[in-house]
């Protein structure tokens, strides 16, 4: 039996107006995300992978094309519907963490657990990412890696159906980056959350069930890994 498709995107295109320049960020992209898998979107800067992930996560709308979450058509969803989609089903991890500086680690996670329908407690979420002892620290008192783990805890506390990570290690050194990837990997395995990681780091590709390579706004190719690599064997 083939795995269930959680997110289905067809013919997605996105054109940005950046100042006076028009940028075609996505060109007719088709993408499926399967239940429980860990997909790695690999591509150089500007290849369109962030744009794709933002559209899949309901943070942005495509210029054209369709997007389905299970049977729900999100292509024409209004702001309200997209907000509810994100609120109920999607967890995000950003390259720059995007924590609220005026809230502690626990409160940053609470921010999401308070509006989720079936959340784990902030303490559970932070313990899951190995920060059970840093609950009351403000972002400014945490290292980059710790901040990113708070961001992961914030994303997984709602027990999302889809976890989307945009360059989660981009602002971190290799050692810390591996730690963070380990947490994502662990969440994916333990909770079965459909996970997508964006990276420009080829070495990370081995971690996923599938590696989707992007270039110039198009999917160049998709590789299926027979076996997900062990984090210990990866280095960059």
């Amino acid at each position: 039996m083939s795995p269930e498709v959680v997110v289905r995107a067809r013919n997605l295109s996105k054109v940005y107006e950046m100042g006076e320049v028009e940028v075609r960020a996505l060109r007719d992209v088709d993408l499926d995300l399967y239940s429980g898998e860990l997909a790695v979107l690999l591509g150089a800067s500007g290849s369109g992978k962030s744009t794709l992930l933002n559209i899949v996560g309901g943070l942005d709308r495509p210029t054209s094309g369709t997007l389905h979450y299970h049977d729900r058509d999100l292509s024409e969803a209004d702001d309200e519907e997209l907000t509810m989609y994100r609120r109920r089903h999607v967890g995000f991890v950003f390259q720059l963490y995007n924590l609220i500086p005026s809230l502690t680690a626990r409160e940053n996670v609470s921010l999401v657990s308070e509006i989720a329908s079936n959340p784990m407690t902030p303490e559970e979420a932070l313990t899951l990412v190995g920060l059970g002892d840093r609950l009351d620290h403000f972002p400014a008192q945490l290292s980059g890696g710790e901040q990113q783990r708070v961001a992961i805890a914030r994303a997984v506390t709602k027990q999302p159906d889809v976890l989307l990570c945009d360059e989660p290690t981009g602002a971190l050194d290799a050692e810390t980056g591996k730690l963070v990837l380990g947490v994502i990997d662990q969440v994916n395995r333990e909770t079965g959350t459909t996970t997508a990681i964006i990276t420009h780091n080829v070495a990370i590709g081995g971690l996923g069930d599938r590696v989707i390579r992007m270039s110039s706004g198009e999917i160049a190719d998709i590789t299926i890994n027979e076996k997900r690599a062990d984090l210990a064997g990866i280095s960059w």
């Binding site: 907000t83 509810m84 994100r86 109920r88 995007n98 609220i100 940053n108």
Partner: protein
């Protein structure tokens, strides 16, 4: 314990972090609310107290003076349809011999019922007691006179009543709504040392003045729904044979009119100033909160990304507005209680309304707070909407590099000679011209408020200067207690120390044009007179024409006549002749309203030979004491007024009340300047922190970076100043129009000094704001700033 949601905690911490900015915005709201609550609240207190005073002491609705009528006439007056109560009395001007004063004083003696109280125009005894029946020498004096002369109960006052010296014992001091504003005849302003009211028993006063069983003044109250005009007509008809001088209603009664005018201007100020402040506060709240929330674009994006709805995000950020306005309203109410008490305290001395008391009006607080909140919410929600309209992915991204183009400097071809720093400043301004213009407008409003706060000094200076140095050039104005033959000029000229004498005539008259009429004394001046001149607000001296009337603009407007029209003039003395006079000139004068005629023309009206009601005197300045003493001894002299003394008392009074107002206005305008400039700079710092940090990393000094940041604000401020002058001038025009009354019209002049002061205060406020932000700029963590938003 209440469990706060994470979002609420974030709100509380953010509010604390932004406390400086929110406080400064709150203070703007506070100034607006305080102004509204104080000024409008004071007006309401005055109106309330006036109503109670008039009711409790039964102020008449219609009055009339006459020469003499028998008491038996009273029943006829009571039968006039629409009349409720009638009070007849005797009033008389008498010279006072006050040994402690150089000049003779003057008293208006008014009879009061010997037993019981007057049914109309009662008095309120404030010190001592009411006169007792059968005590011939007892008198109650007006409280102002009592206090100004430091009298004590039991003191003796000597007056010349009908040519006879009498000593009277002061048994009480009183006030009365009929004489709340008591002015010596011929003077413009009260002179409490030399002029007072004297209430004596009618059983005593009448016989002393050959008025036994008679009266020369009547006051009536009207029944509900009565027709005032009809009552006046009937009174005039009945009193005409008895030398009636024309009945008049409250609108023409001096004390009522003055108080009413004062309350009118109080209402105007109490409405206009708060409106200006609220308007400016609303504008600033809109502008500043909008920008403040715009800087939170990334956070708004993050909150949306993790699933918060636009509504939740919107309400969260609107808390900034609510907090600032709430704090401001609270401070404003507190300030209003304090300032309102102080202001009413000032007015208490001035208006003498017994029940005057300030009460904080919560409805005014709510109006002030409500308008501010509306503005804040509109300003805040605009920014929230702009931020939430963006897809979260975009909101979280740094804003795309702004479009820059060669600026005005380059286009003008002077790029080479202008430093990079200057170019950066100018380009930034050019990139957001609307924002720069709005910020400039915000500062301009504070300049404008300073202008309208200070220009009144200029106007009053000019008014005083014109009145007392150009128009009234005499050293003394002497008024006689009856008309004298013209020969009196020679007698006066013989008084040692008097160098020049110009007699004048003043007769009560009724001016009529169509259905409009107005009772006003006509002043007859000599054509070649040099001491008293007719001067308009532009300083021009209007020569008295050989024939025809010269009218104050305000009087001409009331009569709806213009130059060349004909006015019917009825003399209210003597044979009561009626004459037609053309209006030869209309003058935009500043104090009071007047009608002037050439003294020879006036003779045509009175059918009398050359008479004098008084005279203007010049003295040699050496023997002034002798002149005063001599005049004091003359029984025909009712009053001696020195314009210099009048000027002094007028200025004292104005300075007191104006200084307080100016103190408030300067404070408030400074708050606004600081709020605009401080917030503008703070927000610019958060918007451009990265750029400035980059420059620091590249080797710019703190000073150079500060110059870049503050340079922009400096340009905005410098542009604002002339704009503010313009707006201020416009507002000053409106204030002048609104304040114009028959008592005085402040001319619209704004002096160089005012412009200089407004500029200086604005620059100081700008420098203070810059100093506050400079501390933050100096402490900027370069690495941290550069790390964010990679």
């Amino acid at each position: 314990m209440i469990r706060l949601r994470a979002l609420d905690r974030k709100m509380l911490r953010e509010l604390w972090r932004l406390r400086g900015q929110l406080l400064s915005i709150g203070l703007v709201v506070a100034t607006a609310v305080t102004t509204l609550v104080t000024m409008r609240g004071t007006y309401e207190a005055l109106v309330r107290a006036r109503g109670e005073y008039y009711r409790d002491y039964r102020l008449a609705d219609v009055w009339s003076s006459l020469e003499r009528a028998p008491n038996s006439l009273e029943s006829r007056l009571e039968n006039i349809a629409g009349v409720a109560d009638v009070e007849t009395r005797v009033t008389w001007y008498a010279t006072l011999d006050l040994p402690w004063l150089e000049a003779p004083g003057q008293g208006l003696f008014v009879s009061v019922p010997e037993s019981g109280r007057a049914e109309v125009d009662d008095i309120m005894v404030r010190i001592g007691r009411y006169v007792r029946p059968g005590r011939a020498n007892e008198v109650m004096v007006s409280e102002a006179f009592f206090l100004a002369n430091g009298l004590v109960l039991g003191d003796t006052i000597r007056a010349v009543l009908n040519g006879v010296r009498r000593d009277m014992e002061v048994v009480g001091a009183a006030i009365s709504p009929t004489h709340s504003y008591s002015v010596p005849p011929g003077a413009l302003y009260p002179d409490d040392e030399r002029y007072g009211l004297f209430w004596m028993s009618e059983a005593v006063l009448g016989p002393n003045l050959d008025m036994e069983d008679g009266f020369n003044e009547v006051a009536v109250t009207l029944a509900p729904g009565a027709n005032e005009v009809a009552v006046i007509r009937e009174l005039d008809r009945i009193l005409d044979p008895y030398g009636g001088l024309g009945a008049y209603g409250r609108e023409d009664q001096l004390s009522y009119k003055i108080l009413n005018d004062e309350l009118e201007s109080n209402r105007t100020m109490g409405t206009a100033f708060p409106m200006v402040f609220l308007g400016v506060a609303a504008f600033l709240l809109n502008l500043v909160l909008g920008r403040l929330i715009s800087t939170q674009r990334t956070e708004i994006g993050s909150l949306k990304a993790i699933g918060y709805t636009n509504r939740e995000v919107g309400l969260h950020f609107l808390s900034y507005s609510v907090a600032a306005v709430g704090l401001g309203t609270l401070l404003g109410a507190l300030g209003g209680v304090w300032a309102g008490d102080a202001m009413v305290g000032q007015y208490e001395e001035y208006f003498k309304l017994p029940t005057l008391q300030y009460r904080l009006s919560w409805s005014l607080v709510l109006i002030g707070g409500g308008i501010s909140l509306l503005a804040a919410v509109l300003g805040g929600s605009g920014a929230v909407r702009r931020a939430t309209r963006l897809a979260p992915a975009e909101a979280m991204r740094p804003e795309p590099p702004a479009r820059f183009a060669p600026g005005i400097v380059e286009r003008a071809g002077v790029g080479e000679v202008v430093s990079t720093g200057t170019r950066l400043i100018l380009r930034n301004l050019e990139r957001r011209p609307v924002r720069a213009a709005l910020s400039s407008l915000g500062v301009a409003f504070s300049v404008a408020i300073l202008v309208i706060g200070m220009f009144m000094f200029d106007g009053i200076d000019l008014m005083m200067d014109l009145q007392f140095r150009v128009a009234q050039r005499e050293d003394l104005t002497v008024a006689f207690n009856r008309e004298l033959g013209i020969d009196v000029r020679h007698e006066l000229a013989r008084v040692p120390g008097v160098t020049s004498v110009e007699p004048f005539v003043m007769i009560p008259a009724r001016l009529r044009s169509g259905h409009r009429e107005r009772e006003i004394p006509i002043t007859g001046l000599e054509v070649d007179g040099r001491l008293r001149r007719i001067v308009s607000e532009d300083g021009r001296v209007h020569p008295l024409p050989m024939s025809g009337l010269v009218l104050s603009r305000m009087l001409a407007d009331r009569l709806d006549v213009s130059r060349g029209d004909t006015v019917t003039v009825v003399a209210l003395t003597g044979l009561r002749q009626t004459e037609l006079y053309p209006v030869t000139d209309i003058v935009d004068d500043l104090l009071g309203v007047a009608a002037y005629l050439n003294v020879n023309e006036l003779r045509r009206l009175t059918r009398e030979g050359l008479r004098a009601s008084g005279a203007f005197l010049l003295t040699d300045g050496v023997r002034d004491e002798d002149v005063n003493a001599e005049l004091k001894r003359a029984p025909a002299v009712a009053s001696v007024v020195s314009p210099a003394t009048m000027l002094e008392s007028f200025q004292d009074q104005l300075d007191d009340s104006l200084l307080i107002a100016v103190f408030f206005i300067v404070g408030f305008a400074s708050v606004i300047s600081v709020a605009v400039i401080y917030n503008g700079t703070r927000i610019a710092l958060s918007e451009r922190g990265r750029e400035l940090a980059s420059l620091r990393v590249l080797g710019f000094t703190r000073r150079e970076v500060a110059t870049l940041l503050f340079g922009e604000q400096a340009v905005i401020t410098i542009f604002a100043i002339p704009i503010g002058w313009g707006i201020g001038y416009g507002l000053a025009y409106l204030v002048v129009q609104a304040l114009a009354s028959e008592t005085y019209r402040i001319p619209l002049v704004v002096s160089m000094q005012t412009y200089t002061w407004t500029t200086a205060i604005t620059l100081v406020a700008a420098a203070a704001s810059a100093a506050l932000v400079r501390r933050r700029l100096d402490r900027m963590d370069l690495i941290a700033v550069l790390k964010t938003r990679e």
